[in-house]
Symmetry: C3
Subunit: 665 residues, 3 copies
């Protein structure tokens, strides 16, 4: 047993004689796990009444014969051409109201009865055939679920979903506030999916009725979850045990991964950061994905060994970066490191996407060498880390409902992006080197000393009470501007802002200003240092809270921009504007100081420190130098670097070359 | 009697017990007028054969009982959901050719027989019910008319409109110049609405046939006017007297407000400037709206007390700004100051739009305090100003046809925006402090000493003769580049540019250059000072006119950029390029000097001066400090500030705090 | 016989009495050739069963009577309104899947049987009527062919085209690499035109299947060629001899002009450069258009005498510029200089497009004066240049397939634009003053010493062998990054990059980086000078080639950015990044130096030198000063300026005023 290593493998795209080269090179690189069949529906079901698993059989058998394990995909991420022609209902209708015809991938209407029947049948037959196969270690359902459909099947399913949710039109009309603009619905069939042809203007974020749009987002996420469930249930008919997953993505708004969590046996995701120097972005998503399943190890299902293809500009991963990012995934809880893709296809839109094996089939490329070296390292690390958990006393809350509600809101500012603000606060914690769990708002908060919930726009259920409890028992809660604004239906609380959080925070917000991004209002702290505030400026009237920092400009100069309220044994902080990163770092730092929460090493620019603790209590400390300069740290204890076997003695200087990694035990 | 004060009030959105709070707070703020029922169609007609005025009755009765007056809306600005489902024809087909389904507001096809029948029937029933009700002081038909429809009903109506306009296809083919690109129409039914599917490329301003597009703009504006007329006629069946209006918008190109004017009993508009420091923009639109009804007082139907919601960034009105802008409206002729909205709704797209009463229902917010203080001031001012008129010896011409023709034109420059250039010239007049009427080109010009008609692209009917008459009798006419280019059909005059204006201006334009916005050609005046020219550079060959300023760059350096022609007893000026604001100020200043036209005070930066004269001859002078610095002026006569009762003596210094207002009598 | 002079003439748009003025002014300007009937379908066929050539007869007869010759258009560039109404199939379905209705021009579906039948019938009847007319010297079929259609007729025609191309679905599936994303086609009818509704995202360049999109581009270009052939064949039924052409455009990607070449009797194009100071852009397109027909003289079919109309900003041609650009066309092989348009129409979208005769009909405008002066000059030049050829020892390859394949590719960089890179290299040659032929990749390369093929993304047929032959016999081949990547089906070569060019170039590309445009990696040459590299950075491993320049930054610093490989008697150069212009100039300069290839004069900034050689061996040297400063050159031989008759003696100084032209013999 060891950390899995491998990736997406599509040998059906090339002649079988090439498979020999593939496996020879896999051996050289210590590849042990292959994701197979992600887009094979057209191959395994060439016509509605014909199933043909010949090639898939050969792929699986060959892998097994070579001693490799398989994550077997159901292949339903793209439907075959004959299906779209025979049953046009399987294609999607887009936001503009256009029925698509055959093309691309991720192209199936989630509500199409034909799609639901045939995709489940494919999963059923695959499971019947491969269940119990010793090489098959996991099921991979669909692929990167996403997008949306606005067809009549979806409209009908939406109405049923609404009946289930609201029970009556009266309740729905109230939730959606339909007295506004004469929108009262008198019949379920009057309800249309919100689109460019109905409630929207200027695109998916601009809607006349937030409630309708919000519910459609929820419905669509759940409709796709239903597709996943269909296939999983079909698998379970033959295979009761093998774990089932699907691969999530980073910063993907349409699918509420938290609501999907219970249905996955383990989590996995595809790490394609939107830039080549965003270690905290990746750390955040690793932590979020880990948080989905309560901290259990996850799979890094895809990453490129070198470049992407679909971006306007596709930079190359510099030497050492693929290794660094792979270990970062492990540091944050991954038990598998997989690539897209094992060998480059020669045609279509991913022919220039990086691969372990390139078009020329060489084993002497830089990329292949680095892949092989990492393979050796993973083998060296063995099973030590497998199953280890991340110790964290800080929780960051992340909430798809707040994400949606904030970004479809008219006013106060379209410039506030939920994920960016949350990342500001995460970045401060990451820089400080403390372990963090990124959690849904429904998570148990009782184990955390600090809970950070930036832009908690929507406050649902007993969340306010649970946050208050964190403070009451001595913890710290931190939230920001535009929090506590709306209830689960996106209706404003008929109370002082921030609604149910007001008592905890000891403030009320009287009004709020919004300004273009270039307008900075310096915020002054008690020691006369300042940080920049921007985008939104809430005017806070303390109701017991102490003022930590004040605005310095405009008519609200002198009024609080940051407050702290003693509540029970703990504290609740409020940041009323979008602070720049130094400002956020400072506020977060004060919170951490109160709890004595700092990472095992003093922060060094560019160096990430992360820990995992094995079930037997062994503690692994990962030192990752994302910077372009060598870094030095002072060892705090005797330890061994599992990657080199080198010993580190307490008090000695640990040197990390740029992009280098140490794994101390 | 006093200036009305109040705004849009939608109590149907909340429980009746809240109405008590509403009226209590209205009392505190001296609110006397409520606009009711703007979006109540779904409420008052819950099904095609069911009308229900119960709630509206209660709203009206309660207001009346509280002594408040009502501007009663017909509620047809958004149709109910059942209507769209039962009669899909009531929804619009957009510019892209897509039939919309139920959603949003301002969503009805103006040519739909069903919509026309049922909207008129709603107005009929409302009038039958509330005509004669002592609280009802005005009818408010529809809401912010606008948008466009391209459906088959509209196509058919367009063809009928064209038959009426042209009589024969021969005349139409000539007007549209259809020999070009083989477009000759041989049958009325061959004519299609100009859209993305027919004559347009790159959007609504890029058309292959300007004549078709121009006529569709005219038709659509009139189709919506027909909707207004339908409802007004239905009201008049029961209520012969109560004045009827609808609320216009600022800088709204699709509706030709001048062609609507005769049908409105009084004008009203919604003041949402596209920025928070545009006093001259607001002044211009106040003057334009006043000009629509020949100078009669109008209503400021909507303004936000604090923030908008629909903008990307929604800044807050600073302290004093709401008061300042309210008095500015009055200074320019408003007899009513109304807000959108009296109480914030809790859901949907306007929940963050500012309101007199916020979600928490407080009376101690800054916004409520300022509203209440203004209420007291308006009460203090009493009936003095009511019905007063604006004295003006300067007219600025504004012409929807020129606006349309210019901005749908291919060549010479898409960067010239009609409203911006007109505003440049208005700004110069506004800064100089002179009273201005903004008028349609059909207006009687005989009472004006100066007529400014920037970018008078289209010259129709006897306009050229009437402008010549202004100069002949000693007045001054000023126009600019891209004037006198096309006739009513948007066909170029087959004559020297500027066509019928050539003799008056004493010039001909031989050719014209257009350059990107960053290319500035300094224009030199006789005293060797310069101003910047940009965008379009016409090469003028004087035919009698005197050269006032010349280009300094390019091959046309030394040729005239500004000319003045003596004509009869007066003068005609031509500005051949887009001058920067100092250049426009200078040219306008020379014109004003000739007529000794200057405001009552020497200009002070940021301070606006405006006058109204009551029917009994009392003169009211408004001093409005839009700036952020205190200002001082010297009193030119003894006077009383109606807002404070303070006396001002001639020669004394008047001090205006930032955002402050004085109303001298 | 002389160089033709004239242009598009549409007298059907105005009364016959104006024709007298037209011809009087044509006489004054020495206009001898008129393009007639470009958009007359609606006139000549007012209904399906009615043809009426009355007006066209008069136009032709009048021109003939005045001694002018006619380029007679078939007028099918826009269909009549009745045709669209009666046969909606003639209109196009756009990329978004929307069926257009009547409007604009270039509006016919190329696959519509009705359009094909009636357009050919129009050509047939015109030819039957005017064949043999002594004034008719050429046929002008359609107009500026372009755009695309995605209707069912096109889908069906595409499937037939695919059957012809591939023979079997098996071959097609292989070519399109359809195993990817489950796309295997089992029936021809499953294939859809690639559009926003099928394979595309973010527009026409973003496709899931490059093979499908590439083939549709090829198909659509050929479908329109079929339209041209239909009409030409119909003409040939009556008129076996008069040459037939259609007017091409510059930088027009959708139509593969090389594949059209064989069907045109002579080439012609419309010169509307995308800026007003792009002499090398125009030179390139002149050379490309000349290259289409193997170097035979072409017609400059359209240019504006003054301004365009359809741009956002339409600058005026400065004095002398129209003359300069006209002579530039002649210098590069034009035997005709024609304008759009002879007289300005008064309505619709081209009313502000420049014309020889403006709306006022004057002959004393600057524009008319310059046109008349050029007319006199052309008359003065007489027949000397007619039929002269351009001597060139350098070929630049231009390939529509590479253009398409590169720009629809996912990865490595959307910022690389084919035409821009080719123009970089052409500019270096142009600046050096050497004669260049711009050729298709199928051209015979045996006569050239230097072949420059930038971004030769796709390598088809025996091209690699023919390039190798150029070097083997002592010539030089130069190519760049992103060359040799794909085969004719856009499938990657399963070999080291640059595939079949590897041996010739003596390199292999191991991997490649792509960076945003602002990232510059200085490239250092042997003499320590540097040039900027950007966009794409290929990491080259020499396989025999010598390193000419190296990267200086990033982890590939020191590795080759420019290489030279000795091959046979010659050399092959590779440039692995997008060099800035000085870098390209330097590399190209080194290549030219090897062959002693320099223009007849040392380069002078802004001055273009071009040569033509008459069949009798007379050599004409054109000196064109595009700059804004006077220029001086030293005469290299005794000569006569054909435009002034001035003698130039060897060694004397030739002075060229800004925008001036000399034509030395």
């Amino acid at each position: 047993m060891k950390l899995r290593y491998g990736g997406d493998y599509n040998p059906e795209q090339w002649p079988e004689k090439v498979w020999d080269d593939d496996h020879r090179l896999f051996g050289a690189a210590r590849i042990d796990t292959l994701t197979v069949g992600v887009f094979t529906w057209g191959l395994t079901q060439p016509a509605e009444d014909t199933y043909d698993f010949t090639i898939l059989d050969r792929i699986v058998e060959r892998a097994a014969a070579e001693g490799r394990q398989i994550c077997l995909a159901t292949g339903t991420g793209a439907h075959p051409a004959w299906l779209a022609r025979k049953h046009p209902e399987v294609t999607r209708v887009d936001f503009e109201g256009r029925r698509h015809r055959y093309g691309q991938r991720h192209n199936s209407c989630p509500s199409s009865p034909v799609f639901r029947r045939l995709s489940a049948e494919m999963a059923r037959r695959l499971a019947a055939r491969y269940a119990g196969h010793p090489a098959v270690v996991a099921w991979h359902v669909g692929n990167e679920y996403g997008g949306a459909c606005y067809c009549e099947h979806c409209a009908a399913a939406f109405r049923i979903w609404l009946r289930d949710r609201y029970g009556s039109l009266e309740r729905l009309n109230k939730a959606w506030y339909t007295t506004f603009w004469s929108h009262t619905f008198g019949d379920w069939d009057e309800i249309e999916p919100p689109s460019a042809l109905t409630e929207h203007w200027r695109g998916p974020d601009h809607t006349a009725f937030q409630g309708i749009t919000l519910d459609y987002l929820r419905f669509m996420s759940e409709a796709m979850l239903t597709n996943f469930r269909d296939e999983k249930a079909a698998i379970r008919e033959s295979d009761p045990d093998t774990p089932v997953t699907t691969n999530f993505m980073g910063v993907y708004r349409p699918i509420d991964y938290h609501r999907w969590a219970a249905d996955l046996d383990f989590a996995s995701w595809d790490n394609y950061p939107p830039g080549d120097d965003l270690p905290e972005w990746m750390a955040f998503w690793h932590d979020l994905i880990r948080g989905i399943k309560g901290g259990a190890p996850f799979w890094l299902m895809e990453q490129t060994p070198s470049t992407t293809a679909c971006r306007d500009v596709n930079p190359l991963k510099r030497p050492g970066v693929m290794r660094l990012w792979s270990w970062q995934a492990v540091a944050h809880g991954a038990d598998a490191v997989l690539f897209f893709q094992m060998r480059a296809g020669k045609g279509a839109s991913e022919k220039y996407h990086g691969a372990v094996i390139g078009h020329a089939g060489r084993d002497d490329t830089r990329v292949f060498r680095e892949v092989a070296e990492l393979g050796a390292e993973l083998e060296q690390a063995g099973d030590a880390i497998l199953g280890a958990r991340t110790p964290a006393r800080v929780a960051v809350l992340f909430d798809w409902d707040s994400w949606w509600a904030l970004e479809i809101s008219d006013g106060p500012s379209r410039l506030v992006r939920y994920h960016q603000v949350v990342l500001d606060y995460y970045r401060a914690l990451w820089t400080a080197g403390v372990g963090v769990d990124v959690l849904p708002v429904t998570a148990d908060l009782s184990g955390y000393e600090v809970v950070v919930a930036p832009v908690l726009h929507m406050v649902k259920g007993d969340l306010a009470a649970r946050l208050a409890e964190v403070a009451r028992r001595g913890g710290t809660v931190l939230t920001t501007f535009l929090s506590g604004r709306v209830d689960e239906d996106d209706n404003a609380f008929l109370a002082d802002v921030p609604g149910p959080l007001g008592e905890l925070l000891g403030i009320r917000v009287d009004e709020w200003d919004a300004r273009p991004a270039e307008v900075i209002n310096p915020v002054r702290f008690g020691d006369d240092t300042t940080a920049g505030g921007s985008l939104v400026f809430e005017i806070v009237i303390p109701q017991g809270a102490e003022t930590v920092a004040t605005y310095t400009h405009d008519f609200y100069a002198g009024s609080p921009a940051v407050t702290r309220n003693r509540f029970g044994e703990g504290e609740a902080w409020y940041v009323a504007t979008r602070l720049d990163q130094p400002g956020v770092d400072r506020v977060v730092g004060q919170v951490l100081d109160r709890h004595g929460l700092r990472g095992p090493f003093p922060p060094v620019p560019g160096v990430e420190v992360a820990e995992r603790v094995a079930p037997d209590g062994r503690r692994f400390t990962f030192l990752l130098n994302h910077g372009s300069e060598p870094a030095e740290l002072v060892a705090r204890a005797d330890a061994t670097d599992l990657l080199t076997g080198d010993r580190v003695t307490r008090g000695s200087t640990i040197r990390l070359a740029p992009k280098d990694v140490l794994l101390l035990q």
